[in-house]
Structure formats: C-alpha cells, structure tokens
C-alpha cells in the first residue's frame, strides 16, 4: 500500500463523459459537492437533470451501490439509473447516476420559513429512517449536509456512503452526530445510532452555539449531561425537548416508537404549525430525488 495519496480529478464543467459499458453520455453542469472519497455533479442526459457520484475508489462506489440496491429492491422508481466507468486522463473512474434533488439545508429552511417547519422536516426524516431500518439497514452518516429540504418543506436524506447493515460497524459517520464521540455507546449499526444522530441534528438547529462549544471540550468532559443542558437551554422548540432528550439517552425502543412520539408532539403544537401546507405535504406521494453533497465528513469508516 502506498502512502496517503490525494487523487485529484479536475473535470471541466461542460465536459461530456461516457460510460464504457452502457455507453450513456452525460454533460457535467455543476459540481454539487466534493469529499475525501469522491465528487458529485449535476449532470444532464437526454434533457433530464440528474446527479452523478464519481468515486476515487471503485470499491467504495460499488459498496454504496450494493447498499442502495438492497434498500431499493422492492421500490419504484429506482434510485440508481446507471452504474458505469468512464476514462479521464488515462484513469478509470466509477460512477453511478441518481435523481437530482434541489433544496437547501434544514437551518436555512427554518430560518427562512419559521421554526414550526422543523416538526415537518423531522417527521419526514424519521419516516425515511424507519423505512431504512425496516429493511435491516442503518443510515449511519445522518448530518446537516446530508439532509436537503425543498421549497415545500419536503426533505430527503442523501449520501448513502454510511449506510450499514444492522449489527456491523457503521461505515461512515461524523463526529458530533456519533454517539461514541459523546461516550454514549458503540459504533455498531443499530436504530439508536440513527435516532441519536437525528437528535444531534435537532440540537444543532435548536441551540447551535451551545453545541459548538460542547463539541470542542475534551472527551472526558463530553457527555450526556452536557447535551441535556444544551437542549434545556435552547430558547425555542420547547415541545421538541422531551423527544430530543429521549433520543440522546437512547430510551426509545425503536425508531418507529421515536416516530410515533414525534407525531404526538406535532399534534400538540399543531396550532402553531403551518397546517395547510403540512396537510398537502403529508399526502404527497414521496417521489424522491436527491443531490449528493459530498462529505465534508470529518470521519468515515469502512470496516
């Protein structure tokens, strides 16, 4: 094995790449994200906007494709449109093509549209987590940059690089969302791991400054009591606090229970929630597409 290599791939926007097996052509329109193990582009193919994930290591890409295939088995429409390799500057790169999802981050959305939208967003995330868990997997790398909210408050978790079969070691995670970072358990993929990360996501929205300070503490000072304090100190979202406390103390029996409890809290706050749009959203068939903002992942694992 070599010493650490930083493969750089500088494809010009506007370039066309063609898969060598399936022969599909894609025009690269915009770089959506870049991380330690690859890049994500907005691409156009036959007048359709799609997202393309290009990996530096074909094993990483295939691993993610395998997971997605397992998750999408009985699902229509399919999440993966194409898997192939293209050659660029005498090197082969593996890629897959998925739906393009346009949107903004949770924080941005809530700042623009009001804090009660967080209930809607959270419900949607939980629905997706429960669905993944029911298929025997854990999402793993749930974090702010991996959730995209569209203009109707509909949201989508993206980047399945961390998705891991239950019982195995979580492949990819980010420190502040990782329960082991807070001294609260292992990195074995279980439902609590995702619910914990979701709780951290909520804390980050509720009290970003408090969390930022705590995350910088030495490991012996990072613990659940500190997190609890940060939750209780948050200026708003009082109705959400009991849920978040249960999430970080891992006291839900399953993500399904976490989801049900969330809906109870939503009902209690419904006087303040944007009911009409909530209703519309709720019945909306979940046709899902996604951008992949790549990891600025602090940590990633592939045990």
């Amino acid at each position: 094995m070599n010493t650490q290599s930083n493969q750089k791939m500088d494809i010009t926007i506007g370039a066309t790449v063609q898969g060598q097996w399936n022969k599909n052509k894609y025009v690269l329109m915009e770089k959506l994200g870049e991380g330690a193990n690859g890049q994500v582009y907005l691409v156009k193919s036959k007048q359709r906007k799609l997202a393309m994930k290009i990996a530096y290591d074909p094993v990483d890409l295939q691993s993610e494709v395998n997971t997605l295939a397992a998750l999408q088995k009985h699902q229509d429409p399919s999440y993966i449109f194409d898997v192939d390799d293209f050659s660029f500057q005498h090197k082969l790169y593996s890629f897959y093509v998925m739906p393009y999802f346009k949107g903004i981050s949770i924080t941005e959305y809530v700042n623009q549209n009001g804090s009660s939208w967080l209930y809607v967003i959270g419900a949607h995330i939980l629905k997706q987590l429960v669905s993944i868990h029911n298929k025997g997997y854990v999402f793993g790398d749930l974090k702010m940059s991996n959730v995209i909210v569209d203009q109707h408050g509909k949201c989508q978790v993206i980047d399945y690089g961390g998705a891991t079969e239950k019982g195995k070691a979580v492949k990819q995670f980010t420190d502040i969302y990782d329960r082991a970072y807070w001294g609260e358990g292992s990195r074995v993929a279980d439902e609590h791991f995702d619910v914990f990360a979701m709780s951290m996501l909520m804390i980050q929205t509720m009290n970003p400054n408090g969390l930022e300070k705590a995350a910088k503490m030495l490991p012996q000072h990072r613990n659940i009591d500190m997190l609890r304090k940060i939750v209780l100190q948050a200026q708003s979202y009082d109705h959400l606090k009991p849920w978040v406390i249960k999430g970080i103390t891992q006291s839900f029996t399953s993500s399904l229970e976490a989801k049900q409890y969330w809906h109870q809290l939503m009902k209690r706050t419904s006087s303040k929630a944007p009911i009409s749009s909530l209703h519309g959203w709720w019945l909306y068939p979940a046709f899902i597409s996604a951008i992949l903002m790549f990891l600025t992942s602090v940590y990633y694992l592939l045990w």
Binding site: Q4, Q62, N66, K168, W303
Partner: protein, 243 residues
C-alpha cells in the same frame, strides 16, 4: 489476521538501530507499520518528516503528518485503509484466478457487486491486532491527551466490528536508562482500559524509535502464539465465494 504497528511520534529518532531497518523487519514478519507525525505548534522538521515517510515505506504502510485535533481521525483512517488494502490484496488474487484480471474495473458491472460484498464481509470479520507505539519524549507531553483520545476512539471502532479487534499500547523511552520501551497497556478491546493511560508518565529526552519497534515486533509475534487458537475461528475462506 491483520497485524499493524501504529507509531505516533513528533520528531526524529536519536538512539539505537535505524527505525527504517526495524520497520523493514516488521514487514518481513507480516506486520504493517503506519506512522503518524503529530504536531501542535511548530514544525516536525525536515529530518523528522523524512524519517516518518521512510519508516512507513519500509514497513509497507502509510504516513501522515497531522495536528493534534486530526489525530483520532487519522488513526481511524489508517487502520481502515490497512485492513481494506490487505483484504483487497487477497481478493485481487482470487479475482485473477477466477476472471483472469485483478482489476475490479475490468470486471463487468454485475460481477463487481459480489466481489465487493466478499471484500466487505472479510473487512468486517477479519481479526485485527494494533500495537500503538507512542513516542513519549519530552516534547510529546502536551500531545498525550489527544493521543489517548485517538486510542480510545480506535478501541471503540475495533470493538464495533464483528471480527475480533484488539489493541495494545507501548510508550518509549521506558522509565530507566536500560528500557527502550515499556508496555503501557496489554491487549484489550475494552475502552475503559484506555482512559487511565499515561496518567503517571515521566517524560525523558531520548527517542529510541528503532529499538522500540523491534521490541514491539517480538511482542506481537510471541503473543500471537498464545492467542492463535482463539483467533482461528475468524479466518475466512474466500475460495469460490467470488465466482
């Protein structure tokens, strides 16, 4: 079984056998040597940087120079890559046998899924032993809390795998002038054993990196004799599982 020595240092060796030679010896014994150069402020120096690179090269591993806050992440990443690299090496041989090529990208897309699945299962279940070798010369003192955090973090990740994962910790130089290296923590997979580390460490000036590596090699070989039967169950058969 994957055996790795992970050396964490902040400078150049100055006593005893050349650490590059010692690392080459480790490679002979199928032990991979990875090296992290760690700094808070200041510089690791040209000499130190060169040596770190050369030790890793001779030991068949990788090297990286990072600041204290990147340490935990780097230790994780190196261990992960070491495991993946070893597994890929084995799997590539199998691919060559089955398909006449060792490059994943020369396989049709539909054949890759199975090959990668096999790789991942092996990665998850192969037994791992990591011996951490910590430079505790005087200049390292301020960095030891970060070192401890990185070790604890690695321990949690090893423990989260399905396969057996153990680590032990050595620091060097030892307490008195005749000790080049001292065992600070014997093989463990329990993170609570990591927390008391280095609490009563007296720091000394010399840096006998080479002799310390040799000592750790001996230790890893001899402890393998003892643990071998227990670990045998984790060996994986991959013949015919790819094709």
């Amino acid at each position: 079984m994957i055996k790795q020595i992970l050396l964490i240092t902040d400078g150049c060796s100055n006593v005893g056998i050349d650490p590059v030679v010692a690392a080459a010896q480790a490679k002979e014994e199928q032990i991979i040597v990875n090296v992290v150069g760690v700094l808070d402020q200041g510089d690791i120096g040209e000499m130190g940087a060169q040596e770190i690179k050369q030790i890793a090269h001779a030991g068949g591993g990788m090297s990286s120079i990072v600041s204290t806050h990147q340490l935990a992440q780097t230790v994780q990443m190196m261990t992960r890559k070491t495991v993946m690299g070893t597994i890929q090496h084995v799997v590539h041989k199998e691919l060559k046998k089955s398909f006449g090529t060792e490059h994943l990208q020369q396989l049709p897309i539909d054949k890759r899924a199975k090959a990668v699945e096999v790789m991942e299962n092996m990665t998850e279940s192969i037994p791992i032993q990591v011996a951490l070798l910590i430079d505790s010369s005087a200049s390292m003192k301020s960095k030891l809390p970060s070192v401890k955090e990185a070790i604890a973090d690695l321990c949690i990740s090893l423990q989260s795998r399905m396969g057996e994962g153990k680590l032990c910790v050595f620091h060097y130089p030892g307490l008195n002038r005749v000790d080049d290296v001292k065992l600070s923590l014997d093989w463990t997979d329990q993170v609570q054993h990591v927390y008391p580390l280095f609490n009563k460490l007296s720091m000394r000036g010399t840096t006998p990196t080479g002799p310390a590596i040799l000592h750790v090699i001996d230790y890893m070989i001899s402890s393998n004799h003892i643990t071998a039967p227990a670990l045998k169950g984790g060996q994986i058969q991959i013949e015919d599982s790819i094709s």
